[in-house]
Symmetry: C2
Amino acid sequence: MSATEGVRARARREITEAIKGEARRQLAEEGGAKLSLRAVARELGMASSAVYRYFPSRDDLLTALIIDAYDSLGAAAEGAESEVAAASDATALSRWIAVCEAVRGWALTHPHEYALIYGTPVPGYRAPRTTVPAAARVGLLLIGIARDAHRGPAGLSRTPLPEGLRPEAVRMTADLAPDLPPEAVVALVAAWSELFGLIGFEVFGQFHQVVEDRAAFFRHAAARLAHEVGIAFPGAAPDA
Amino acid sequence: MSATEGVRARARREITEAIKGEARRQLAEEGGAKLSLRAVARELGMASSAVYRYFPSRDDLLTALIIDAYDSLGAAAEGAESEVAAASDATALSRWIAVCEAVRGWALTHPHEYALIYGTPVPGYRAPRTTVPAAARVGLLLIGIARDAHRGPAGLSRTPLPEGLRPEAVRMTADLAPDLPPEAVVALVAAWSELFGLIGFEVFGQFHQVVEDRAAFFRHAAARLAHEVGIAFPGAAPDA
DNA sequence: CCCAAGCGAGAGCACCGCTCTCATTTTCCG
DNA sequence: CGGAAAATGAGAGCGGTGCTCTCGCTTGGG
């Protein structure tokens, strides 16, 4: 463990990163389905077999890109949230909407990477344990905002739960946010998945010739999701 | 144009159907990404080149399967709706939930076909005009239920629209359901996409270790979506 | 210093989508 | 009815893919 950390170790990190970089480039151009290990190697001027020293298979390369994408999305969301939170007039609602719009913005900017993480799972079924922390970042952000709103004067969701859902709601609450009321946790998880329904439909073109002013539509829908969770500021309209 | 419609025309229809059937089989086993024209041909005992007489390319085969999937889903939803609607105690809410649960049930039964139509678009970007009518069936069903609720005594969504969204809301209303209030149309489109957010997260495993009693959770979420659209029956709880 | 481990390159396997040619069969029309 | 035209199937072949294996070269640790 010398100061240089070894010439080879350094080279390995750099080449690994170069492969991912080139793969990301091809991903952005053609989409995950067309990503070719050989093409990446060709572009990097190395034999295709050499790439296998760094990624055991094409799917492992994809998995690495998936983790990076989750992290990139998470960072974008967290950055937007903390920026809004720093403002003096920050509210739980404004922070919620900031996160939603950051996720949407990232998805529209990186559609193929979005497809990789929230579209069809690439092979049969794959979600290596390693992706879990990165994947959870957006969800945790939303939970945090709900928690702050819950601590505030306005409280949270009031929609009562049906009897049949109560045990599950209690279980989910214990797992995700023990300090929140079960009604809010259920609403939060629903809003979380619904958020990606809105974004997915936009990214995958389902809103084509249905919704035109998608930014305004999304902002409204995001505000309504916040309202569903019970995030609102005392006595004001649901939108900005 | 004899009574038999020609031996060849009949054979063509049958072989086309056989190819789609075998392709659907492989789709269910391995997913759309791995669907191989050669494998289909091999399984059917014909030369791979012969398949091209029926489908000009692999993507065209996929497109045919996509249209069939949309139709299969649409039929399932319509069947469930009309069955519930025939009951004497049918309400707009019960019909709404029936459609939502039918879509969910179909998606869970046909995950790969669901992925084909609501997951990542398979090639670069593809949505031939021919898929539009089939794709619209579920949306039209939901609009129809909202319309009936609107005609009923309870009315529909009351959430006011922000100023910025009003022009778009009016435009959407003119396109989709001129007889409904714009507030309801906006809520309807949002609920439509959010519905597929819920289902997509479940089918693609995002609820893994988050939601366990997914049927109960979904039923509740679907009821809340109905409530958001303004579909409810006079003076009752939001759930069944 | 020397040997094991890491690494790159090349050849090769089996598969893929797709094209082209050629023989056979069915259909249509004079 | 018979011959031209169209539809169909088989086979070979092209360029591409993921992946494996072997062979030399380089690097690093004992």
